[in-house]
């Protein structure tokens, strides 16, 4: 058993795939530095992220698969689930050896787990498109905090860029401590310092537009008035809007 220790980035992960073929290693486990604990029996090999190698792996995948399918690997990678990431690694290696149709083998445990994780990440991605609630700051910036189960921000920013093309916005993932900001010209990554992040949780670090509370109240009013009491169905309600998402929803 060989442990490939990479830096946690997708480029690092794809570099690991490249090196696996280059070194003709079998039985490889991919782990990040944080996940790795050295053991007496296993070998550890440090992967040095290399965008040229990563690009070659992507090119190889693009030759064998449709664009959306290639993107599926990235989506599952963003699940941050150790098992799913390992299976993604195994499946990519297998498909280079055996052909792309192995991904359709739903009788295989790895494929089923991969498909299941892909669905979960897809669901979370869709939820974040729905549940982001922007607050307007005095300088005209629209600001939202998210706390998603998976690292889906890289999967949703293009959606927001297309939609809110004429307003500046910032979406911040507090769990992973980074955000993406749209400046009307480009998307930039933002990282708050620990102190700033603390302030974010306790007090309002941002001065909000004078109309902000007014529209929040209108939205709360609408949410109440559009509900039909005679059809009350809390089980269904909670299934669609699980409680862990409530803290950033204006209407809850």
């Amino acid at each position: 058993m060989v442990y490939y220790i990479y830096d946690g980035s997708y480029i690092g992960f794809l570099t690991a795939v490249f090196d696996c073929f280059d070194l003709k290693d079998k039985a490889v486990k991919v782990v990040t530095k944080e996940q790795y604990s050295p053991s007496f029996f296993d070998e550890g090999f440090e992967i040095i992220s290399d965008s040229v190698k990563a690009k070659r792996v992507l090119n190889g995948l693009n030759k064998k698969l449709k664009k959306a399918q290639v993107n599926d690997f990235y989506c599952v990678f963003l699940s941050e689930d150790l098992q799913a990431v390992q299976y993604t690694f195994d499946l990519i290696c297998e498909l280079f050896r055996q052909g792309a149709d192995i991904l359709e083998n739903y009788g295989d445990e790895k494929v089923v787990y991969f498909a299941k994780t892909l669905k979960s990440v897809g669901r979370e991605k869709h939820r974040m498109k729905a549940f982001v609630r922007f607050k307007k700051a005095t300088d005209g910036m629209y600001f939202a905090i998210i706390d998603p189960d998976f690292n889906v921000l890289p999967l949703i920013f293009r959606f927001f860029k297309n939609r809110y093309a004429d307003q500046r916005w910032l979406i911040y993932d507090v769990k992973r401590n980074y955000g993406l900001m749209y400046t009307l010209q480009q998307i930039v990554e933002v990282k708050l310092l620990p102190l700033e992040k603390q302030a974010l949780a306790t007090t309002e670090v941002i001065a909000f537009d004078e109309d902000e509370v007014y529209y929040q109240n209108l939205w709360k009013q609408y949410y109440q008035s559009t509900n039909i009491e005679a059809r009350r169905n809390m089980k269904l309600h909670l299934q669609y809007v699980p409680k862990r998402y409530w803290k950033y929803l204006v209407e809850k």
Partner: protein, 418 residues
């Protein structure tokens, strides 16, 4: 309470019985403004009744010259009345949209003065949103029955979806509770818009930049359980409207009693027929996506759906000669007829079996409802059985071991309908 907030309270409350919330199916992209309705629909939140909130669904006004007994805004009803101005609707829509609360606007209205006057006012709102605010989000606009064709045609250039409600499934039912209305005034504008969509499609080869005209198509809604139609009658109407007007959706809205003066309607406090509504939607899906013909599910001999089991299972139990289906050899259309197997699982089965005959343990992981499907299918390691199992026993064991969300909750008054 602020006056705008009060208006929103009144006019959202009056609009909520329109169940359509869809925000999908359009092709409108953001062209140098705000908003994009080209992606699939998004439900931004859900109310405590479990219904999705995708659009800001409001009436322009709940003043109405009609007196339809089933409608909360009927002329004779003693409710608070209000009306938004054009600017107010635009302002709220834009501010909600910019905060990512909604996908767009669903705009309907009571009829004040006359149809054209109302339609013209609705048009001004959607026109202002598109041209002045450069808003490219989703707009669903109610067509006002009786409005002039010029107005309807112009509105179609600004909106994504248009709809007109049939209200009651049959003309006879409608006459009972809304004598001033008829189905013809619904058919006419539906046909007009549909013809115009078709015209543009046939011209499109010649024109380079064809205008978007109602890109997400049309829909309608029927109130269920207010008047005594059978499920067969309801679905026959739906089936006909899907075929004749290429509707994208027919919505079924279980009647919620809101009128204690009319003795023909279910009285206030009666439970809305939620299970029946669900069964009708399931039937609708079977017709549109599962290649069922209406007379396989409902026909003059079998007029009402089972309440305790879904219509696909009901069909399977009545047609034992169709089963068991061998999932390792059957084609897609046969596999989706197995109760407990949906379209996605059927596709997975078709793909997976290329790698070898599928066995029970694999099927269980693929995402089908195995405990239901097992009675109707065989796979590589199914035990060999002699003779046919009685469908009566199959139903019993599915009901006994299944965990239907309606288990033990089917009230007596919903089993027999009238």
């Amino acid at each position: 309470m602020d006056r705008i907030q009060e208006k929103l309270m009144i006019l959202a409350d009056a609009a909520k019985y329109d169940v359509s919330c869809s925000s999908s199916g359009s092709k409108r992209k953001n062209k140098g403004g705000i908003g994009d309705a080209s992606a699939s629909g998004i439900c931004h939140t859900y109310t405590e009744d479990g219904r999705c909130v995708s659009l800001l669904k409001i009436l322009l006004t709940n003043h109405c010259i009609y007196d339809c007994a089933f409608c909360v805004s009927r002329k004779s009803n003693d409710v608070k009345r209000a009306a938004f101005t054009v600017e107010e609707v635009v302002e709220i829509t834009m501010n909600f949209y910019r905060r990512n609360y909604i996908e767009g606007l669903f705009l309907s209205s009571g009829i004040f003065k006359n149809a054209d006057f109302t339609m013209e006012r609705l048009m001004r709102i959607v026109k202002k949103l598109r041209t002045e605010e450069r808003f490219h989000g989703y707009i669903h606009l109610k067509t006002i029955p009786g409005a002039s064709e010029e107005l309807i045609k112009e509105a179609g250039l600004y909106v994504d979806r248009m709809s007109i409600n049939l209200e009651l499934p049959t003309e006879a039912g409608l006459k009972l509770v809304a004598p001033e209305k008829d189905h013809e005034s619904v058919r006419k504008p539906l046909a007009f818009v549909q013809n115009h969509i078709k015209e543009l499609q046939s011209e499109s080869a010649l024109i380079k930049h064809k205008p978007l005209f109602v890109p997400a198509g049309q829909s309608t809604q029927m109130v269920i359980g207010a008047t005594p139609e059978s499920d067969y009658q309801i679905m026959s109407v739906a089936d006909e409207f899907y075929k004749n007007y290429q509707l994208k959706r027919v919505y079924y809205s279980g009647y919620i009693p809101i009128n204690s003066d009319n003795v023909l309607l279910p009285q206030v406090g009666t439970q809305p027929p939620l299970i029946r509504e669900n069964r009708l939607y399931q039937t609708d899906w079977l017709l549109r996506f599962y290649d069922f013909k209406l007379d396989e599910i409902l026909n003059p001999q079998f007029q009402n759906l089972d309440m305790d089991i879904d219509p696909k299972l009901g069909w399977a139990l009545r047609n034992p000669q169709f089963f068991p289906i061998d999932i390792n050899t059957a084609d897609y259309k046969q596999i989706i007829r197995i109760p407990g197997i949906g379209r996605q699982s059927a596709m997975k089965i078709i793909k997976a079996r290329k790698f070898g005959k599928l066995r029970e343990y694999q099927l269980k992981k693929i995402g089908i409802s195995y405990n239901r499907a097992k009675f109707f299918m065989i796979c590589a390691d199914s035990p060999f059985t002699l003779g046919e199992m009685s469908m009566m026993n199959v139903k019993q064991s599915i009901l006994q071991f299944g965990n239907s969300k309606y288990k033990n909750t089917i009230p007596e008054n919903q089993l027999s309908l009238f």
